[in-house]
């Protein structure tokens, strides 16, 4: 808020600091708190005199609002405010890229669950009950729910500019010419259902009115972009909006868009009291965007010796009611459309479409999950048509450093795609069950539900490789800011790291500690609560924070170190040898101690703030989908071994093996965590996770019927981590968060096809897709 802010509190209280720097498997700072229940999530925030907010949501997927009657709700005892669109102080709409989403619907609702009115009351139950008394007069309209239909010329327009959020036309080489000469052609149409991020901590936060504006504590992915949108909607200058990162219970992209931020702030400003909003699980399904459902049409042509000649296709992404990140998802889908393969001739059209389905936007993998499912299915089909081993076909066409992507961009970082596959294939397979021996139910499809004792069970093995860009692409100015302060505390040097980077569970705080410890040779490092009093860190998204904010922390540490050395020289005279900071002291090459850091900063702390930008600016794609649109890429390959009960359509994944190039593992333990968690999310999409929507109405907004994998569904993971330094990045690191989620789904599907012989062109796979059913 002010120019020289006071330092915020440490984000986690820590006792004995870990000893380890970059490259060590340091246990996460928040691990103990989280497993012991002591961690403060955004839903645990409280303030004196706080009111509770509740949101009135549309029961219709599409309807005109003829009127809103708040009188009864307002008269409900204990209610302090009831607000509608008319009460939004500033801009009526917000959005990450396009401000098309109403803070509160005014004349029309475009999806099931769209916010229409707000209530603040003394008690959460009061607020909920009063919300039920807000009478909204809806005139239901036919929902437009089929993206193909929404794309049609005669479709009703859901937004003034029509129903296309984004169209990318991608063209390279001569597809028609290549098609005329291809020896083998395979075609397929694939579908991806709507996956939810299913983070465990529902949307929540606390808004506190201040003298000049509002202070919002919230679980989010990007404090500064929340502030930008908040300020606009609240008609406040950005300085009057202070956003503080609260404990995040998972994000996976689902907290990039605003949810309760403006709502709680409006209620707080209106009532002049702190306001908490905490969604329940059901509301959370309506409170954030989901992964884009996709329909993907592919045609692959190859020469008889198994070289890809061309790929052409068409991809429709259902963006739902509002734009969110649809355009960026479309960009990533474009860049990953043919997979990590060399394809000289490519033609694609990709559309992200407005419909009356729930809004879709960012989710881990971000467009690359949908394409990978399709292109890897096509590679298996092609291998079969060619009579070539599917891994060999992939290896033969794999991109490598120097290869050109369909967007024209040359891959200049490590791209060990063939090696990933070779290493994966060389890994041992899990043992086959001994014939005739009784088996533990938990190892069988259906698990403890006791559906088979081995009957109908077939084993299948499948491979897939996937990739995604790392960092923000398409010309976005990707940067981060870090403030590093070294002071003396009880005779010891203390490093404080202050950034606005949101820790969403990925382990960024521990990474920043490791970097500062390593750069400054000082053991005691405290990472401070992220807030908007320091410069933007960008979004915790796109597998970018370890690199970009890590880079900013490193750069700020370098500035601090330079100042420490300067002070040491000033005090002790110039040294003949190079100086370094080690073990809390400035030392010479010879090991001679010049001065303890604590003495150099006593009473005069060093405080440096730096911005970091990676050494490449990306560009938007041109009208033919050409351009150096991505910073770099991350690659991972997966092998799935599955047991399928072909009579009941139930599946047990026996093992996932994976090889991933991570550049440099800053924290190998955290890398393994990302890999295993990402695979679990990929397994969920393959086998069970789907927000079921019919006529725009969400049918399963609960963890009773939106299933995510349990410990009995998630198999052991065999992991091999490669470390080929990424030349553009600090320490040679690369982003690791998203690649595990991308090809794991495709590998499971490949294994299921191998086991069943069924085409399985849609995820999640349903039992009906696997079993051969008699006509009823």
């Amino acid at each position: 808020m002010s120019q020289t802010p006071t330092l915020p509190a440490p984000v986690y209280p820590r006792e004995a600091p870990a000893r380890d720097g970059v490259g060590a498997s340091v246990r996460r700072a928040d691990a103990r708190l989280k497993v012991s229940g002591g961690f403060d999530y955004s839903s645990d925030l409280s303030a004196d005199q706080a009111l509770w907010g509740s949101t009135v949501r549309s029961p219709h997927a599409h309807a005109r609002i003829r009127g809103i009657d708040i009188a009864q709700a307002l008269a409900h005892p204990g209610v302090r405010a009831v607000l509608t669109h008319a009460d939004v102080p500033g801009a009526k709409c917000y959005g990450l890229k396009v401000a098309d989403q109403p803070v509160l619907a005014s004349d029309v609702v475009r999806y099931h669950g769209e916010p229409v009115a707000l209530v603040a009351a003394d008690h959460p139950e009061t607020a909920r009950r009063a919300a039920a008394k807000v009478i909204v007069d809806y005139e239901p309209l036919p929902p437009l729910v089929d993206p193909e239909q929404a794309l049609g010329a005669d479709a009703p327009r859901l937004h003034p500019d029509g129903n296309v959020v984004k169209h990318v036309h991608l063209e390279r080489g001569d597809v028609a010419g290549a098609a005329a000469q291809a020896d083998v052609v395979v075609r397929g149409t694939y579908e991806v259902g709507m996956q939810d991020q299913a983070f465990l901590g529902p949307e929540s936060g606390l808004a506190i009115p201040t003298d000049t504006g509002v202070e919002l504590h919230v679980a989010t992915q990007w404090l500064h972009d929340d502030r930008r949108q908040l300020a606009a909607c609240l008609a406040l200058p950005e300085e009057a909006v202070h956003v503080v990162g609260a404990g995040v219970g998972g994000a996976f992209g689902g907290r990039e868009d605003l949810s309760m931020q403006v709502h709680a702030s409006m209620l707080a400003l209106h009532t002049r009291r702190p306001v908490r909003i905490v969604y329940g699980r059901e509301e959370s399904f309506f409170g954030h965007v989901h992964r884009h459902p996709a329909r993907l049409h592919y045609e692959h042509g190859a020469t008889a010796d198994g070289r890809l000649a061309y790929v052409r296709g068409r991809i429709l992404l259902d963006g739902g009611a509002y734009a969110s990140k649809s355009a960026a998802v479309c960009l990533v889908a474009s860049g990953t459309a043919v997979g990590p393969y060399v394809v000289p001739n490519v033609a694609f059209d990709l559309h992200a479409i407005y419909t009356n389905n729930p809004p879709c936007g960012a989710m881990r993998g971000f467009g690359a999950v949908q394409t990978c499912f399709a292109y890897e299915a096509q590679m298996d089909r092609l291998a079969e048509a060619l009579g070539i081993d599917p891994v060999e076909l992939r290896r033969r066409n794999a991109i490598e450093t120097g290869s050109q992507m369909p967007t024209g961009q040359r891959v200049d970082g490590p791209a060990p795609v063939a090696e990933l596959l070779e290493r994966l294939q060389a890994m041992p397979l899990p043992a086959e069950p001994a014939a005739g021996a009784p088996r533990d139910l938990r190892e069988l499809p259906g698990g403890v539900s006791n559906t088979t004792h081995g009957e109908g069970v077939r084993r299948g093995i499948g491979y897939a490789v996937g990739f995604k860009n790392v960092g923000m692409g398409g010309g976005v100015d990707d940067y981060s800011t870090a403030r590093v302060r070294v002071s003396e505390d009880r005779g010891e040097p203390l490093v404080e790291v202050h950034t606005a980077a949101c820790e969403v569970g990925q382990g960024g705080i521990t990474i920043h500690e490791q970097i500062a410890r390593d750069e400054l040779g000082i053991q005691r490092v405290v990472v401070l609560t992220p807030d908007t009093s320091v410069g933007s860190a960008g979004c915790t998204a796109g597998s970018r924070q370890t690199w970009i904010t890590g880079g900013a922390v490193k750069t700020a540490c370098e500035a601090v170190r330079a100042e420490l050395l300067r002070r040491a020289v000033e005090r002790c005279g110039a040294s003949d040898t190079a100086l370094a900071v080690k073990g809390g002291a400035v030392v010479a090459d010879t090991g001679a101690l010049l001065a303890p850091v604590a003495e150099l900063v006593a009473g005069d702390p060093i405080d440096e703030t730096r911005e970091y930008r990676p050494p490449r600016r990306t560009q938007p794609l041109d009208e033919n989908g050409q351009g150096d649109s991505f910073l770099t890429f991350g690659f991972a390959a997966h092998r799935a071994v599955v047991d399928v009960d072909v009579d009941l359509g139930l599946v047990r994944v026996v093992e996932i093996a994976t090889v991933q190039d991570v550049g440099r593992a800053i924290n190998p333990l955290a890398v393994e965590g990302q890999i295993e968690g990402g695979i679990a999310q990929g397994l969920g999409l393959a086998l069970m996770e789907e927000v079921q929507v019919r006529d725009g109405i969400v049918r399963n907004p609960s963890f009773t019927d939106y299933l995510i994998p349990t410990i009995l569904d998630m198999p052991p993971v065999r992991t091999e981590i490669l470390e080929y330094p990424q030349p553009l990045a600090p320490y040679g690191l690369n982003g690791v968060g998203e690649p595990p989620t991308i090809a794991s789904t495709a590998a499971i599907l490949s294994a299921l096809r191998a086991a069943t012989g069924r085409p399985l062109t849609r995820v999640p796979v349903r039992p009906d897709d696997i079993v051969e059913m008699q006509a009823a």
Binding site: G446, E455, L650, L712, R766
Partner: protein, 289 residues
């Protein structure tokens, strides 16, 4: 909302008589969810948590009297021998936390067709012991207890005291379909119980109709086939055709719908497969034979 917390069974029955509209709550695994979603509309709730006798079971005269509040975790641990079908089903209920709280009385009170306890209760010939302050004990055949989705045969002043379940006199099996390998609500489920003394077959179908169902025709068919072949003690082969026919008759007895958990067609199909498999396991038959 008013919450009554009787200390004894007698007090509980009196509370129910005084508040016939009251709902009952035991482990809360179902009622609390209903409350959270505002789908529970009783103005009064009778908390049975202090009524310790509901959490006891006893065995005499060839049957188990299972208190309505005995949690599933204890059924798994303590009743596997006398009530194998119910113990198998209990193992598939929710998570360890849910099994520590949930009970057969809760399943019966809620009368959801998806309740895991229903198929083995039907297959095993259970009797529900309802009780009221005014009229005392009333025994209800479990097959007559389910009236419709979330509707049961209790009178407004009655509470469920216990379930009377014959000790198994032959093999029992249970199988349940869900698209997750644990902690899943049944897309459909099936129980079978063989009474080798009376030479009868019992069945129960879950989550494939407005109420839990028996497959009476399938029961009679399989019993007759076992009689004919002298196969009641297992070890003898039933031909694949007989088991297939049993599966078909079980499928035919279902009245499934399409919903978020499965299609009707899949439910019918899966019931047929489960019926064949569970019968084969129970009789130690080889399906492939």
């Amino acid at each position: 909302m008013q919450v009554l917390s009787p200390a004894t069974w007698r007090e509980a029955l009196e509370a129910k008589a005084a508040h016939p509209d009251a709902g009952a709550i035991q482990g809360g695994t179902d009622v609390m969810v209903e409350l959270n979603f505002d789908r529970h509309h009783s103005a009064t709730l009778i908390d049975l948590g202090r009524v310790t006798e509901l959490c006891e079971w006893e065995r005499d005269n060839g049957r188990v009297r299972l208190g309505a509040g005995v949690p599933y975790a204890r059924i798994v641990a303590e009743l596997r021998e006398p009530l194998p079908g119910l113990a198998l089903a209990a193992r598939t209920v929710g998570s360890p936390q849910i099994r520590n709280r949930g009970s057969v009385g809760g399943n019966l009170g809620a009368a959801s067709p998806a309740g895991d306890a229903h198929p083995p209760l039907l297959a095993g010939g259970a009797v529900v012991e309802a009780q009221s302050a005014a009229r005392g004990v009333r025994l209800i055949d479990v097959a007559d207890f389910y009236l419709g989705p979330k509707r049961n045969a209790l009178e407004p002043d009655e509470l469920i005291a216990a379930v009377l379940m014959p000790v198994a006199r032959g093999p029992q099996q249970f199988s349940k379909i869900g698209t997750r390998n644990a902690m899943v609500i049944a897309a459909c489920s099936f129980a079978v119980a063989f009474d080798q003394t009376a030479r009868t077959v019992g069945t129960g179908i879950g989550s494939a109709g407005p109420t839990p169902l028996r497959a009476a025709e399938a029961e009679a068919f399989l019993a007759a086939a076992l009689d004919e072949r002298g196969a009641w003690e297992g070890g003898r082969r039933l031909d694949a055709g007989t088991l297939e026919r049993f599966g078909e008759l079980v499928s035919a007895a279902a009245r499934p719908i399409d919903d978020v958990r499965a299609t009707a067609a899949f439910r019918r199909h899966a019931l047929g497969v489960m019926a064949q498999r569970t019968a084969a396991w129970a009789l130690d038959l080889s399906l492939e034979g």
